[in-house]
């Protein structure tokens, strides 16, 4: 069995926006029967996951370059372009 993909969900504080995004990704995982390891963290904590993460979904701006893809999650908050964002995330997860 392949390893669960690890998805980091991050915002600046780890309180407000990532909670909403975290839930949206859990729903997606359920809907598509994906088994994921979702970690809700602060953006400052991403460094601790560089070896294990497969994807970072964040509402905060990231200036750093990572070895895994980064997807902006603002759409989950405003509803604008949310289907595109979901598709981007799914494409990464079923690779």
């Amino acid at each position: 069995m392949s390893r669960k993909k690890q998805v980091l969900v991050a915002c600046g504080a780890g309180i407000a926006t990532s909670t909403v995004v975290n839930n949206a990704i859990e729903e997606m995982a359920k809907e598509h029967k994906l088994s994921l390891d979702i970690q809700q963290i602060k953006i400052s904590e991403v460094g601790g996951y560089v070896d294990t993460a497969d994807l970072l979904v964040t509402t905060a701006m990231t200036k750093k370059e990572y070895t895994f893809p980064v997807i902006n999650a603002r759409a989950f908050l405003t509803g604008i372009g949310v289907e595109d964002t979901k598709k981007q995330i799914l494409d990464e997860l079923i690779k």
């Binding site: 407000a16 926006t17 909403v20 701006m61 908050l77």
Partner: protein, 159 residues
């Protein structure tokens, strides 16, 4: 879990400001006066906004959700600021700015505990007509009632 503080006194209308720092300062000072947050909250929110912007372009008027860590908060509260003229906020996760008309300042006292409230807030952001209504309504009691109904939370002292 404590109840959320939200009433007419936390709705600030016709805010006249030129910068996001001024807007945040006014709204934070109001929360400080009511002892809902600590003195440190104001600068913490301003700093947070500089590091991690919260401006959100929507299908209607742009909004912002300034907030900070729980250590600066005494009691959970939400404050709504309606700006007379839009003020530029940086867009969340972006380097661009957006002219913000409505500010929803969050004072959270527990991490990760506000999912339902936040989701309902996001539903408001996806309702262009409702955002337009909030921008133009002059009666704070009506604003309070409509927002409360949308958020569907039980107010302090309520049932």
């Amino acid at each position: 879990m404590s109840n959320l503080n939200f009433d007419e006194s936390l709705i600030l209308k016709d805010i006249e400001a030129r910068t996001k720092e001024e807007v945040i300062g006014m709204m934070a000072n109001n929360l400080i006066e009511k002892k809902l947050v600590k003195e440190s909250y104001r600068n913490a929110v301003i700093q947070r906004e500089q590091d991690f912007a919260t401006g959100l372009p929507t299908a209607g008027v742009s909004v912002a959700i300034p907030h900070t860590d729980i250590e600066h908060v005494n009691q959970k509260a939400i404050s709504i600021g309606i700006l007379k003229e839009p003020v530029l906020f940086e867009i969340m996760g972006d380097s661009e700015t957006t002219p913000v008309k409505l500010v929803f300042m969050l004072a959270m006292d527990e991490e990760h505990s506000q999912l339902e409230l936040l989701q309902r807030l996001m539903q408001i952001f996806q309702d262009a007509d409702f955002l337009m209504y909030l921008s133009n309504e002059t009666d704070k009691t009506k604003i309070k009632e409509k927002v409360t109904a949308q958020l569907d939370f039980s107010l302090k002292g309520g049932e």
